[in-house]
Amino acid sequence: MKNALANIGFVRHWTWVHWVAIGAVLFIASKEVYESQTARLRSIDNQNVQVIEENIQEFNTMAERLAQLEVLPPVQNQWKYIPAIATRYGVEVSVLGTRHSDMYDGPLQAWHGELRGRVGSVLVAALEIQQTVPTFLYQISIKNGDATLGFSVLGSE
């Protein structure tokens, strides 16, 4: 390398100081370029294109599927069915409030309540409620022929 460079006239008059200086500049320049490139490659590696594309595909499919589904009526309209059905079976309905830790906590609006009455009546009322409006059933307690059953009725805003 040095012999090849010596063919270039001016290099013949260079001392070790010149070579050290040029070596230092070469080293620093290479190091900077290398480090910048490593940082660029690392940031691209962190965001895997393939994973993002797969997610886009998956989200698209999900969005198409969701778009085909029916929009739920407002939750207050859904709730109206509950007392109507419960009364028919002689079951008591009590409201538990809109926030309940061990009940539905998803993107849809939910009103939580509790059915109370004879075991058979509660079970039948719960079945009919669930078949009429989207309802999640949670805690059930049966004692002395009476049952209580927690539920969340779902709807949109």
Binding site: W14, I22, E32, V49, M62, L66, G120, V124, Y138
Partner: protein, 293 residues
Amino acid sequence: MSSLADYIKRPVTIQGKEVLLVPDLVGPVPISEQHQYVESCPATNTCPAIHVRESDIEEMRERYPEYPVFGMWHLLIKSGLVSFKRTLQIIPITQEDGYYIHCDLGRAEYSGIYEAGFFAADAGFSLDEALLVEADIERLVLPEQEAKLAAELRFERQLVTRKGWSYLVISMVAIIAIAFGVNLILGKIYDRAHQQLASKSAMLSDLQSGLDKLRTTRLTEVPNDQETLERLAVLWKEYPNIETTGKQSIESKSITLTYRSEGEFKPLSDLDWVTSEYDPKGIVTIKMKTRGG
């Protein structure tokens, strides 16, 4: 043929180039005269260093400013006209005076002038043994370096040093520029990849927020616990005094119920979703699988 001494201190054409020849000194310069001389050729294995008197160069510069100056012995040695095997070789100026060079053991030792046939350096030298150096001007070959004044040499050295630093700075700038350029090109290439990634990530985030919005009005899976409710109804019909142990979750995989057996224990062996345990105290514990169980 004229003597080579005739060419000294006057323009002469050698190898198509107009040059001037001055007498030079092969070998050591007397200490008292060292400040007057400047080296025109470094020592080699066959010849010691050759020096030229600065005043001779200055004189030639004044008379012929454009012409390069060469030392006579330097020129003759370069032309191969001096035999290092001959003890004494001369270039006569007159019959009794002239220039001489003394060689010994295949190496030039020193040069000087002889006057009236007398060699001050060595009284043993005699013109009778001396070999005359003579050659056609066409046979002369110019040395690579002309003789220069100390000031000129110093200036040249400074020039070389300055050039060395200048080229160093240029080389550094070139390296930095190349590194900067490479970095810029790589940056541009990878920026494009980054932009693609960024646009895809933005698309993904848009889709995500769209999905979140859709999820606030649509239900993907309608809850259905019919099977669990029917199973509970079957058990309740069979055992009217059945109870849950505390609160049980419809969502869990199984529901635990108990009842007090009044008479004989009737295991529900025909239902595969039920397991029961009988306690001799009369308590029967039933584990019912739910929809998810």
